[in-house]
Symmetry: C2
Subunit: 475 residues, 2 copies
């Protein structure tokens, strides 16, 4: 999908129209993209999707067909449609780098723009960030559970459409998977691609060994055989061993066998023993079949002899939690050249938004280089360089003072006056950045179930501002 | 995404190559698309996605860039790459009509093609059918729970990418929703579009009433007001009433108010009473906020005073079951001009596939016009017109004889020798077809939880064939 200008909710267009009618459409505003809860019970998320957002922002324009269609939807004034005809995004956007380990409440993207522009882009931007951050996070959990084993993304046929498979493969790679089966994602993103053969391939030959042999002749250096078409232990593995030995004699090597059904712990242990006893100790065991991070962790706990994991449906859809609830909230409006902070009140204290033009910083221990905490502060604030007392924004009596840190600012300009001022790094370096950070965070934060909650605090100034606005609203 | 030729798994290309190397790539085959379990515990599914499949099939071709990329993936022989360069789909495809109510095990699509062609298209075709059938089914469940109320699809920002939102909106419309917020889906599919305003709209004005007034001035005949920005009962509804009365005096009408948080049963009842007491009995109450079919059913059981339901995340991702496990299995191979049936054996009897070149028929009671059962039979079989004894394929002693029926064949040719021979009906008529059928099926099959299982039986001939092949395989 190329031009995504119309990939928006009608209410954005309707608000633009109501603002136009009131002469308010050029009112400058700040909106933040953030989420309240990481997906899948995770302690963190991996930010992804920005590259597509930037392409989208730069390419926004309504075509004549779009204008004609909108005219049929509602009798918008022609002058408004003329504004749409010339519409471009002219604001400024700051964002986290893709691959950043991020936490609830942190502005991932900060949009500073005329309200009409800020509203129009909300939907498409959230769609991209919600989806890709979700899949990158799911992938990181799965890769974490595999503890250094190879993880392959195999989910395209179960993705929510071809595009979900495509950007999902990219996000999964950022999250740490090693390769994908998705050829288009390989072509466009440079992700390594992997694939073997299906059951139907075996069925098309008179017997399984003929099929295996045919495959190995076509891919002599990359032979991985699917052994469960008829009977894994009785026929499949013996045939694979027979071929593996023949290949060995010819100075070649059978790379692996793939298990795609049955009890993977049981079968992989027997398979390993059978292969080893035949002298094929270097033949890897690949497994697929409804895998996710919990099952992989459990199979590894049971010493399953699997070193390559093909993960499909559960990864590409983030099956147990298929949406990240990223939101887009008004943080400030401009009046006479100044930013007036705004918040959205709620009965639920954790749902009250953070007002103002903000920054996000991460404190790293200078000695261990481990992240200590994140701080959301006003953009104008200087962050002290030597010592700071942090406190829990919901329970301010919980305080901790940190020292000996270095500070890293997480938001950086990516769009200036409508134009990209940031080159997306290579996908390899985004992936490396994510992996590097994940290594630094404590294992407690990365636990699959009930992880420790990383500290994301508000600066004193921001906290004070928020309290005073809450007070004001409540009046 | 226009050219989806490369939206496939690498193993399809690799199998094509191995077949080519063996001179088997032109071997004719039959593959069936079917699923084993409807999504979300449903008793049925609504078939959708065919239109995109047909566009895809007709447009398959590898570009020079694709060939160059594949050359970098593996040292495929140049002659094979030349075959890809000229590759077109030349086979025949039969399929159910979009909007058909379908059941586990039924071939939804039957592909008859050279094995290379049949393999290449597997992935993209499954992606489309799995996704769109899933969302259409979820929509039908939600619309069913709303019992005649209006249901709006609002999920784009939580969709798994823009395309999932786009085709998801189309599928949801087939499943019975009345409108979408997705402007692009409205433009391209003619789906009615709806939208009001966000909380940020209210926040941008000095007070809520000004915001409501501004909105009603822009949309005097379509004013729906979001009343929960500050305090639903204390401020929001009173403001809406104030404006509603003013509009009434001017001979206009406030269409509705929207609740987006809080307890929707409680708030809607109070809101209804407040509106009614003010004489605004014709102001509708729209609700949104994490709705799905079960919550809607429960809210209606509690007599929530809501008549328009905006459903987002749970619909557009089918949150509680975000993938349909549609598969693609070899059913027959051609030898000397004859179709030799094939099946895939499994330890699990329900997973053994149905062999042969098949048809699917539905029996309707001539008197009540209600569907009685479906039968999967061999294509060559004549289905008796007056009386037939059906039996459960897993427990053949369970038999029932039906009479006084008419027979409808569900699979029809859609692609002949690579070319579309079927015009997709208008989306309106696909939607009407789905709704019409849903009305005919018994309520037990449509129950949200633990529904009755509709009869999908095998013909005696097909059952006999299957048993003999199982026997053969087991030898």
């Amino acid at each position: 999908m190329k031009n995504l200008t119309m990939s928006t909710d009608l209410y954005q267009i309707n608000m633009m129209y109501a603002y136009y009618k009131k002469g308010m459409d050029r009112q400058r505003t700040i909106f933040d993209v953030f989420f309240r809860k990481p997906p899948c019970g995770s302690g963190y998320a991996i930010f992804a999707g920005l590259d597509q957002v930037l392409d989208y922002i730069e390419s926004i324009h309504f075509t004549e067909e779009d204008i004609a269609y909108l005219r049929s939807v509602y009798p918008y004034e022609e002058e408004f449609l003329e504004i749409l005809r010339n519409f471009r995004f002219t604001g400024n956007i700051a964002a986290m780098k893709e691959g950043t380990v991020v936490f609830p409440g942190e502005p991932l993207i900060r949009v500073e723009a005329q309200v009409s522009e800020a509203q129009l882009i909300e939907t498409a931007m959230l769609t991209m960030i919600n989806h890709q951050t979700l899949i990158a996070t799911k992938a990181a959990r799965i890769v974490g559970a595999a503890k250094g084993d190879t993880v392959l993304e195999f989910g395209l046929r179960r993705a929510q459409g071809a595009e979900a498979g495509y950007y999902g493969a990219r996000a999964a790679y950022i999250g740490g998977v090693h390769a994908t089966s998705n050829v288009m994602a390989g072509r466009d993103f440079g992700i390594p691609v992997k694939g073997t053969h299906a059951h139907s391939f075996v069925q098309l030959f008179d017997n399984e060994l003929d099929a295996f042999t045919a495959y190995s002749e076509a891919f002599p250096d990359e032979t991985v055989l699917l052994v469960d078409t008829y009977d894994t232990l009785g026929i499949g593995i013996p045939h694979a061993i027979q071929l593996g030995l023949a290949m060995k004699e010819q100075g070649k090597r059978l790379l692996g066998i793939r298990l795609d059904s049955g009890d993977l712990a049981y079968l992989s242990k027997l398979a390993r023993r059978m292969l080893d006893e035949a002298g094929l100790t270097d033949v890897a065991i690949v497994a697929s079949s409804d895998l996710d991070e919990r099952l992989i962790q459990d199979l590894k706990n049971q010493e399953a002899q699997i070193t390559i994991w093909g993960v499909g449906t559960n990864l590409i859809t983030s099956y147990d939690c298929p949406a990240l609830g990223g939101v887009y909230k008004l943080a400030a409006v401009e009046k006479d050249g100044e930013w007036l902070p705004r918040l959205k009140i709620s009965e639920n204290p954790t749902k009250i938004t953070n007002p103002g033009y903000k920054q996000v910083v991460r404190f790293y221990d200078r000695t261990s280089d481990k992240p200590l905490a994140d701080l959301i502060a006003l953009a104008e604030e200087d962050i002290p360089g030597d010592k700071i007392t942090l406190f829990d924004p919901l329970f301010p009596h919980k305080r901790k003072t940190i020292r000996n840190y270095r500070v890293k600012s997480l938001l950086q300009p990516v769009i200036e006056q409508g134009h990209r001022c940031y080159d997306t790094p290579s996908l390899e370096s985004i992936r490396a950045y994510a992996q590097e950070q994940l290594t630094c965070f404590s294992p407690e934060i990365k636990r699959l179930i009930n992880p420790h909650q990383y500290h994301v605090d508000l600066s004193q100034k921001l906290w004070d501002l928020k309290q005073s606005l809450i007070h004001q609203e409540r009046e």
